[in-house]
């Protein structure tokens, strides 16, 4: 089957199997920032944005995103041009092993796109599907607050 989809702002066309999930297609096509943690939609390491909404790509049939807009971590920022979220995660020590980080950052992006000034409860609820075993979440939440503040200031 042929999948036409927009990934990180670019039109793409991939051949995919009928049973394939989006995660496997993305990783095969080089978007390896999308991580595989549980294959069951339970951990959020594979989270991507589809039309600005957060989804776990490991349980999503690839064909279901036909014609949609997919954003992966590769579409957020690059090592030479970090997004404010990425920079803030580093500044605040919100990254340890980094395996949950791509999904976590996309979850934060989805949150801040719809709510530029979330309170702590809203942040926790928005990140509830993204498991992190390294940080204890403390510095992640701190980073989200700080990033939200600076994004509001510059109107990013």
């Amino acid at each position: 089957m042929k999948l036409n989809v927009r990934i990180n702002g670019k039109d793409k066309s991939f051949r995919v199997g009928p049973e394939e999930v989006l995660l496997d297609v993305l990783r095969r096509e080089g978007y390896t920032g999308v991580k595989r943690g549980c294959r069951k939609g339970d951990c959020g390491a594979c989270a991507v944005l589809i039309d600005n909404e957060l989804f776990n790509s490991c349980v999503l049939p690839a064909m279901s995103v036909a014609g949609k807009d997919v954003i992966t971590i590769e579409g957020i920022g690059t090592p030479n041009a970090l997004h404010v979220l990425q920079r803030t995660f580093l500044e605040e020590g919100a990254v340890q092993c980094g395996f949950c980080t791509p999904g976590m950052i996309l979850a934060v992006k989805a949150l801040l796109d719809r709510n530029e000034d979330p309170n702590e409860t809203e942040i926790k609820e928005a990140l509830d599907g993204n498991l992190c075993r390294c940080t204890g979440y403390v510095k992640i939440i701190k980073a989200v607050k700080k990033a939200a503040r600076s994004m509001r200031e510059v109107g990013e």
Binding site: R27, Y31, T32, G33, V34, K35, R36, G37, C38, R39, K40, D42, C43, A45, T72, I73, E74, I76, G77, T78, P79, L82, Q86, R87, F89, L90, E91, E92, G93, V95, Q96, C97, G98, F99, C100, T101, P102, I105, I123, K124, E125, L127, D128, G129, N130, L131, C132, R133, C134, T135, G136, Y137, V138, K139, I140, I141
Partner: protein
């Protein structure tokens, strides 16, 4: 250097590998792209204990895309341990790549290699196995009884160090120690507390599961890219398991998606290496989350029977600890974890009469291994609950009781010498201790004075405060070795090559900071490359809270040697003697004239102009000591007396890790550890049926903490100076996981007056305990 103002160490610099991590560009094992790669899937046993009478792989072979099938019939049968420990390993040689007997549900029966993971998985279902079922033993006390099923009846199972090991009785390890006079100790006690505590099964749950890739090269060597904490042990043990020389194996550790001990294990590497060598194509194997729960590694469930006595004045007169450890179907880390129950807990409090007995026993259950805390988690649970009980019984504030008894600067403990990790330890005295500050500030943060011992009267929901004091070690003295190489480049930058294994801890960063501090440059001048057995010097790896203290010192020594070489060239250039210069901010400066040459000038001269040579050095370090970090934990809980539900409201942790090399990363270690501990205490649980099968091997039913579970968390560091550590540093990574079990148990007691000893402390258990209390 102590006394000098630190310029790099002690600052929260950004992780040197951070940009790759936040942009998804960092390469983990799964991100290595190899052409022509094959996939391996493993067939796990459905039975807890069985002999394989026959395996029919015909139907699997007929599936298009199947490339190779391995069973006990075509794999070399070489006993080894999967425990990634130094040589000679203290764990028994009781494992084979695949065996003709299965010893737990999930144990390896066969491995299929195929063109895709889907095909390999389908092929597993086509393998027909004829099992002879054997009686299984799922309870550790049953396993010790006369006539219990013998789990390792194969003649090859043996130990290679002189320690007790008797597989005919399912005994994996036994260690005992006694100092003083127990009878006298207990006779002097005014109060004696005895209880049994049951630390339970748990999984590490790194978000990245175990994954290993083996790539054959045309010269007959094999490259293993693997998610490991111990690349050098992977190389050695894989070579052993395959019966090939170490020189034929190269191990690269890419970025690692978390370890916490479960990746201190050589699990998949021998299997993929075997396949890649035989087939001549790259082979990858990645565990599913279910396999991660069932067939990787877990925490050792340990029953601790603890009897302690003290006088009315608060002197501890006797401590008698018996730890019975369930090491599952294989004895990985069996001896050393149970040793650490004693050696990382008993020295914390001064007492003249101490007895310790540790035993580890095989059962037909999943296999425990190394897990952050490593025995201290299990035994500190018992010790800190008993401390709380004793204090209550003599009417003393539990914090005062601990302050009166804990070990401090200048103190030693006979336990240090009597009990180490696998046998005897080394004598040492404490040279840094900030435990009192941890206690005082933590007590203030939690509101101890106002809240502890409070009475909520008839309220349905009652609040309680709990506490725990902790110690751990910093590396395994006289056993662990870390090494580093530093090489200067044209522009005055440096390659820092280390075998130490950054698994997310930030060790690449803190080791770069140590090197930069010593050299007189900046962290950004260090190009860090870690863990490639062909390229970097040896290091035991990321375990035993060792990297900062051990490898950190190796890095500092190496940097000091490189600095000497730089000074030599710089002094020549300045026309002064080596004693007449100082090094500051990437330059060698004449103390007299203030004239300077930069590192870049030195590098260019040494490489291209005069007496050309490579400025570089390598140094190794072993430690004579294992200085304990200390911590005090406090928790406030709410207990619903009608439902039994326990809610953690606030958690406070104060940690003395000496001088934190990077305070933000050190705090991150304590926060991650405490939340893992909290999750372990309140929700995480392996649920087994009566056949030894785990019923909840997924994140939906094995609940690890999420953001919405988070209580208010206050974590702080108390800075001390450990004279034997690099820039005063001690370890920090493990200690924080040990506090939650006892602190929560103590808090529940404070709230509702019942003692919970069987975690996780679920609503059902609390309710049951409340019912029992109300009956009497």
């Amino acid at each position: 250097m102590s006394g000098d103002k630190l310029k790099v160490v002690g600052f929260s610099e950004m992780k040197v590998d951070g940009r790759g991590l936040v942009t998804g560009k960092a390469k983990y094992t799964a991100d290595w792209v190899e052409n022509d790669m094959l996939h391996m899937k493993i067939l796990g046993s459905p039975h807890a204990h069985a002999r394989i009478k026959g395996i029919d792989t015909t139907r699997a072979w007929n599936l298009p895309g199947v490339v190779e099938i391995f069973t006990h019939e075509n794999v070399p049968r070489i006993p080894h341990t999967t425990a990634g420990q130094g040589y000679p390993e203290p764990s028994p040689y009781d494992s084979f790549i695949v065996d003709r007997k299965v010893r737990f549900v999930g144990d390896r029966v066969a491995m299929v290699v195929a063109e895709s993971e889907t095909i390999a998985k389908e092929a597993l279902g086509l393998i027909e196995v004829d099992y002879e079922l054997l009686p299984a033993v799922l309870d550790l006390e049953e396993a010790m009884k006369e006539g219990a099923p013998v789990i390792h009846d194969e003649e090859e199972a043996h130990v290679i160090i002189p320690v007790p090991y008797d597989p005919s009785r399912n005994l994996v390890a036994r260690v005992d120690m006694e100092i003083g006079d127990m009878e006298e100790g207990f006779s002097r006690a005014d109060v004696i507390v005895e209880d049994s505590y049951y630390a339970h099964y748990a999984q590490h749950c790194p978000v990245e599961p175990h994954i290993s890739l083996a790539i054959p090269d045309p010269d007959g060597r094999i490259l293993i890219v693997t998610s490991t904490q111990v690349p050098f042990h992977v190389r050695r043990i894989t070579a052993q398991a395959l019966g090939i020389p170490v020189k034929r194996i190269r191990v690269i550790k890419p970025r690692i998606g978390g370890g916490f001990g479960t990746k201190q294990e050589i699990l998949l590497e021998p299997a993929v290496a075997l396949a890649a060598l035989k087939i001549g194509r790259p082979v990858i194997c990645e565990l599913t989350r279910k396999e991660e729960f069932i067939s990787s590694r877990t925490r050792h469930p340990i029953k601790t029977v603890l009897r302690t006595g003290c006088t009315r004045e608060g002197e501890i007169t006797a401590v008698d600890m018996h730890c019975l450890s369930n090491t599952g179907a294989y004895g990985s880390h069996g001896l050393t974890v149970v040793c650490n129950c004693g050696s990382k807990v008993l020295p914390l409090y001064k007492c003249d009469n101490v007895k310790f007995l540790g035993e580890a026993v095989y059962t037909n259950l999943p296999v425990p291994g190394a897990y952050r805390g490593y025995g201290a988690t299990q035994a500190a649970f018992a010790m800190e609950c008993n401390m709380n009980e004793m204090a209550r019984k003599i009417g003393m504030d539990p914090l005062e009781f601990r302050k009166k008894n804990h070990i401090g600067i200048g103190d030693t403990s006979p336990i240090f010498e009597a009990l180490g990790e696998g046998g005897e330890g080394v004598p040492q005295s404490v040279e840094s201790c900030g435990l009192d500050q941890c206690i005082d500030r933590g007590a203030h943060e939690i509101g101890w004075k106002e809240k502890w011992g409070g009475n909520d009267g008839d309220k349905k929901i009652k609040r309680g405060i709990g506490e725990a004091c902790l110690m751990q070690g910093s590396s395994i003295p006289k056993i662990d070795m870390g090494a580093a190489s530093i090489k200067m480049n044209d522009d005055g930058s440096f390659n820092l090559l280390i075998g130490a294994t950054d698994i997310g801890t930030g060790s690449d960063t803190i080791l770069a900071q140590i090197a930069a501090e010593e050299l007189g440059c900046r962290t950004e001048d260090m190009i860090v490359y870690s863990s490639d057995t062909d390229m970097t010097p040896f290091d035991v790896g990321a375990y035993a809270s060792s990297t900062t203290y051990l490898t950190g010192t190796a890095v500092r020594k190496t940097a000091a040697e490189v600095k000497k070489q730089i000074i030599k060239v710089g002094a020549e250039m300045l026309g002064v003697s080596e004693e007449e210069v100082m090094v500051e901010d990437r330059a060698i400066i004449s103390s007299e004239t203030g004239e300077s040459v930069s590192f870049k000038d030195v590098a260019l001269r040494s490489l291209y102009m005069c007496d050309q040579h490579q400025i570089m050095a390598t140094a190794s370090h072993i430690t004579e000591k294992s200085p304990p970090p200390f911590a005090a934990h406090f928790v406030e809980v709410e207990v619903d007396t009608e439902t039994g539900e326990v809610k953690c409201l606030k958690y406070v942790t104060g940690t003395d890790c000496g001088q934190a090399i990077n305070p933000q990363l050190a705090e991150g270690q304590t926060e991650g550890a405490l939340l893992n501990g909290l999750s372990y205490a309140l929700t995480e649980e392996y649920i087994f049926n009566d056949k030894g099968q785990m019923l909840n091997p997924n994140f939906k039913n094995y609940r690890i903490y999420r953001t919405t579970d988070l209580p208010e968390i206050v974590s702080f560091l108390v800075t001390t100076h450990e004279p034997t550590g690099p820039y005063g540093a001690k370890s920090v990574s493990e200690i924080g996981i040990n506090g939650a079990l006892p602190a929560i148990s103590n808090a529940i007691y404070d709230a509702v007056g019942v003692r919970l000893t069987k975690p996780p402390f679920t609503a059902e258990k609390v309710l049951q305990a409340l019912d029992n209390k109300n009956k009497f």
